[in-house]
Amino acid sequence: MNEFADAAVLASKLVLHADATLLEIVRRSLEVSLAAVGCASVLGLSAGALLAVTRFPGRKLCIILTNALMGLPPVVVGLLVYLSLSRTGPFGGWGLLFTPTAMVIAQIVLITPIICALSRQTLEDLWLEYAEQLRSLRVTAFGSLRTLLWEARYSLLTAILAGFGRAIAEVGAVLIVGGNIAHVTRVMTTTIALETSRGDLALALALGFILITIAMLVNGTTFVLRELADCDAR
């Protein structure tokens, strides 16, 4: 109990004094996950929109697949990305293993299906409702897509946030491909996972505190976005 109290005191000091190590780790975490969310949004939204408005053989299969991929275990993603990036793997030549880029790639693989599946659902429902009206107004395919994305903006942002929440909080994938190297690939979750066992409870606790704050912010924003979307749909 005493150990915990000491650690808590130390942790709050780290946060309050904006400790350099702490800040570095938090910044890398945000950089990696935001980069991953950026790329995954472009990929996921495009794929989601395509699956929502087009009809082609194998489309159902694609939808089932993306839905299934939503629940990919992070460690498995980490393992697969590790194998592809390791020296003997297909992309070994790039020398990306144990770099932040590798972590971004792993998180992209992890959350693109989430953004794709959620946005597809939203856009498909909307398309069902709008298709005939937009066709009647002779809106072009590109114009229809733009209208669709705009009308669904709050729900799409929610999907993106869901991806971000998953990326920032996962540990399995970034640990395997990043290796938790100090000053290079250390992020919040990997630090918590490894520093706890090494006894640096203060740092782990401080990071845990920040992670919880971010998670709550994400959830709060999601809630507000849902309200806005409902307001719009009514």
Binding site: E129, Y130, E132, R135, S136, R138, V139, E151, A233, R234
Partner: protein
């Protein structure tokens, strides 16, 4: 704003009408929903598509408007450029409202039609006045009552000043006052030279403004005649029964 003072819209030198349909079928799977429809829509007074529930009125309008394609037969507009934005418009039986304000819904159609921004605001205002929606301009379109939505859909369609305006039961959800206001507006729209093609199962309404009647029953076009002739002397037994209020689907 006086409805009778509607501005006469600018018209393309190459008119879109007449529309000629020859032996048009529409079927889904093995079910034939429309069978051997042959008729012509020409410029002039409103054409009313009359028929009981499920007769195929909505499908016939969608076919003409190009939302569904015939599975057999041909459908030909006089001008090949009939598919350009703003040349024809349709108001659906169940209006689809975009998730934006009433005014923005009208403006959307104009933007698609590439009306310059300064003129857009002016036209939106006129349309709001004509359909009695001024007080609701800033409200989210989706919270409107279904009657208000139907009026908004009419405003959005007419704002583009189409040459042909398809209206699918435009007064089905309206109260008596709104019905006569909308009917007055439709008559005024027709008077500007816009071809109005309207479906209804309301006989009185058909009498009030039809120039031509297309009578549909179970997916077949039983009559296609001038309104006066139709009401005086229907040729089919089904139409006779319908006029007496005795036709069941």
């Amino acid at each position: 704003m006086l409805v009778s003072a509607l501005p006469i819209p600018f018209r393309n030198s190459c008119p879109i009408l007449p529309l000629t349909c020859v032996e048009v079928d529409y079927q889904i799977g093995t079910t034939v929903l429309l069978e051997a429809l042959s008729f012509t829509l020409s410029a002039g007074g409103p054409t009313v598509i009359l028929g009981p529930n499920g007769a195929g009125k909505t499908l016939a309008l969608k076919l003409c408007h190009g939302l569904i394609n015939p599975t057999r037969g041909t459908l030909r507009w006089s001008d090949a450029a009939h598919d350009m934005p703003g040349r024809q418009a349709m108001v659906f039986q169940r209006p689809v409202m975009l998730r934006r304000s009433v005014a923005a819904n009208i403006e959307y159609g104009l933007a698609v039609h590439k009306v310059p921004a300064p003129q857009r605001a002016e036209r939106v205002k006129t349309m709001l006045e004509l359909t009695g929606l001024v007080a609701l301009a800033g409200r989210s379109a989706r919270v409107l009552s279904s009657g208000e939505q139907q009026r908004l859909a009419l405003a959005r369609a007419w704002a583009m000043q189409p040459e042909v305006l398809f209206l699918d039961e435009p007064t089905a959800n309206l109260d008596p006052a709104a019905t006569s206001a909308v009917e007055e507006l439709i008559i005024a729209i027709a008077a500007t030279g816009t071809k109005v093609v309207l479906s209804t199962h309301d006989l009185q309404q058909a009498r009030r403004f039809a120039a031509q009647i297309l009578f549909l029953h179970r997916g077949r076009l039983l009559e296609s005649s001038a309104a006066d002739d139709f009401f005086k002397q229907p040729r089919s037994a089904a139409a006779t029964a319908f006029l007496r209020g005795e036709l069941w689907w």
